[in-house]
């Protein structure tokens, strides 16, 4: 069985808790719980904000390097102070509210969006004992809070009292709602395997290594892998990232639902989009990539939060890589992709997951059959549905005069 639990008591591992206890040890009991919670909130907001700032810089530098140019490198050595410069720029811009706009909604929309983007961070286990709130239905809470951000998008479009931004907000909302379904369906196999909706439980269910070196992460099973891919595609669409960023495209109706926003409020929208990206990546790490578990037994000496950060960073770099490469999909193609490809695949994946869970106990040689069947059940529908989706589109050969 696993040795990881034994290595879980090193000083490095417990360092965050040691620091927290040192700060709040003196307080009496109910106050101590409050202080701990407030500390956790502050740390999360700080880290998420810092990650957001760093991510904007890394995105620009990465995009630059992909495009054979250095990226921003004037503000500070290597451009390190660029996010600060951007922040100052956003803060010092004039905040314009159109005269006909609904002032309450206009102000509330970015605030609501940001609030609901931060709430999901509460249930992610960042390390072995580093989960801010231990909920039995953590996953359910996460996606409920995340879905509430869509309301704020519509508020923004409505509040501007502008035909174009309302239209764009409705298109954006259509995209968000369409991709909620594949997003939610894609991790039901994980719940099936883990047997619990609690995030810490799901991470614990992925503990251990098969044959001493292959981790039990859900991504390494056929149904889990399919679920992971669908989850990441849906996460791209949920956070309005390329190639699903048509609502924000500058060649479209200007900035879409954000047309009427300027200055700091615009920055808040931007921040909320990145928080959504980070939160969804963190949840993907938790559900599919084993959370804070180390990939190999001897690597468990590295603290759990470092592994979590590494996996999170890897997924975020994947987001950036995809943005650097692909053109964007048109809205109707986007919707067709969601409803006619991802949703059927995710539903079929449920069946594959059920088969996988039910045949867990098959003896030795039949395991190979189990694997073959499961892989066939994943790849087959993908190829067939893909052929249906891509019918009529193919590279062509040309003739010469």
């Amino acid at each position: 069985m696993s040795l990881s639990w034994a290595a879980g008591d090193s000083v490095l591992e417990r360092a965050p808790l040691i620091v927290r206890d040192a700060l709040t040890r003196a307080l009496p009991e109910p106050w101590r719980w409050l202080a701990n919670s407030l500390l956790a909130i502050l740390v999360i907001i700080g880290l998420a904000g810092g990650l957001f700032a760093g991510l904007t810089l890394v995105e620009r530098k990465l995009l630059g390097r992909v495009q054979n140019r250095p990226g921003p490198n004037r503000a500070g050595p290597g451009g390190i102070f660029q996010p600060i410069a951007d922040g100052i720029k956003m803060l010092t811009k004039e905040d314009i509210v159109p005269r006909a706009a609904d002032r309450v909604l206009h102000f509330a929309a970015p605030v609501v969006l940001l609030a609901f983007s931060i709430l999901p961070f509460a249930v992610i286990p960042y390390g072995r004992r580093l989960v801010p709130v231990e909920l039995d239905a953590g996953v359910l809470y996460f996606f409920a809070a995340g879905a509430a951000t869509e309301l704020a998008v519509f508020m923004a479009g409505w509040a501007g009292h502008n035909k174009y931004s309302l239209l764009a907000a409705m298109r954006s909302l259509a995209q968000l709602i369409s991709y909620e379904l594949p997003l939610l369906l894609s991790f039901v196999p994980v719940i099936l395997f883990a047997g619990t909706l609690s995030t810490t439980g799901i991470v614990a269910a992925q503990a251990g290594w098969k044959w001493g070196w292959i981790p039990h992460w859900h991504v390494f099973s056929p149904a889990g892998f399919a679920g992971f891919v669908i989850f990441m595609i849906a996460a791209l669409a949920e956070s309005n990232r390329s190639p699903f960023d048509l609502p924000e495209a500058e060649s479209e109706l200007i900035a879409g639902h954000l047309t009427e926003y300027s200055g700091f409020k615009y920055a808040l929208f931007f921040m909320a989009e990145y928080f959504g990206m980070i939160a969804l990546s963190a949840m993907a790490v938790t559900l599919f990539l084993g959370g804070w578990q180390a990939p190999l037994p001897f690597l468990a000496v590295i603290p759990s939060y470092v592994w979590f950060a590494a996996k999170l960073g890897g997924l975020l770099l994947g987001f950036l890589w995809i943005r650097a490469t692909f053109p964007r999909l048109r809205l109707d193609q986007l919707m067709r992709f969601a409803w006619k490809f991802l949703v059927p695949l995710a539903l079929l994946n449920l069946g594959t997951a059920a088969f996988w869970a039910a045949t867990f106990e098959w003896p030795g040689a039949l395991q190979l059959v189990r694997w073959a069947l499961a892989v066939g059940l994943v790849v087959g529908p993908f190829v067939l549905l893909g052929r249906r989706l891509g019918a009529g589109y193919a590279p062509r050969t040309y003739r010469y005069a």
Binding site: L62, R65, R69, P70, W321, I322, A324, T325, F326, G386
Partner: protein, 223 residues
């Protein structure tokens, strides 16, 4: 299979990303103004007037105010006024010079036609482009003081072209000198023959000695 084109694209961007760290062909930015690229010799920006030496720029301008460049300039950005007197040029011949030679560089489009049509190699293209000023009108009207630059500067920015121009001008000057010498020799010979004929009228007319044909010009003449 659906997605194979996408994966191929991801491979290309990854190759470029990794390549940008070790392959200069994949990081082609020149970080101006710390790093400047070397301009090719033929690069042209705005015109300038060539003067033979730097000590007396106005006195040694090659320009003789023929106004050909003013006529040929497409946007008509050159203004020339001839002088009232003449000055000797580098070959010693008396020429007019430009009392006023203005180029409005806010109009000039660097087409180089003035350089092509100038018969005297007096106006050439400069290469300075970092000449942004804050003042919109007067600073963009260059007069002959602002336009005159010495021949040494011309050699600096267009070495091959300047060498060719200098060689050609020297050859032309040499040919002109030889022609003048030959004409002078012919004149003195004719005058001498006339004197001989006048001094001995009774003597039978002696055919005047034909002027010796001028020898080939000395190619190693001084510049």
């Amino acid at each position: 299979m659906l997605g194979s084109g996408l994966l191929q694209g991801l491979a290309v961007t990854a190759k470029n990303f990794v390549g940008s760290f070790h392959d200069p062909a994949r990081l082609t930015t020149t970080e101006y103004p710390e790093v400047r690229t070397k301009l090719p010799e033929n690069y042209r920006n705005f015109p300038f007037l060539v003067s033979e030496n730097a000590e007396d720029p106005m006195g040694t301008l090659r320009c003789v105010a023929c106004q050909i460049c003013e006529k040929e300039c497409p946007p008509q950005c050159i203004l020339i006024e001839k002088s009232k007197d003449k000055k000797p040029d580098a070959a010693g011949k008396l020429q007019l010079y430009p009392a006023v030679f203005d180029i409005d560089i806010s109009v000039c489009m660097s087409c180089q036609i003035c350089v092509e049509v100038c018969p005297f190699d007096a106006i050439k293209m400069d290469q300075v482009f970092e000449i942004a000023t804050g003042e919109r009108f007067n600073a963009l009207l260059l007069d002959r003081h602002g336009l005159a630059k010495p021949n040494s500067y011309y050699h600096q920015i267009h070495p091959a072209e300047a060498a060719e121009v200098d060689a050609r001008l020297a050859a032309e000057r040499q040919a002109a000198e030889e022609k003048a010498r030959a004409a002078a020799a012919a004149k003195t010979a004719a005058a001498a023959a006339k004197a001989v004929a006048a001094a001995a009228p009774a003597a039978p007319p002696v055919p005047p000695p034909s002027a010796a044909p001028p020898g080939p010009p000395n190619p190693g003449g001084s510049a």
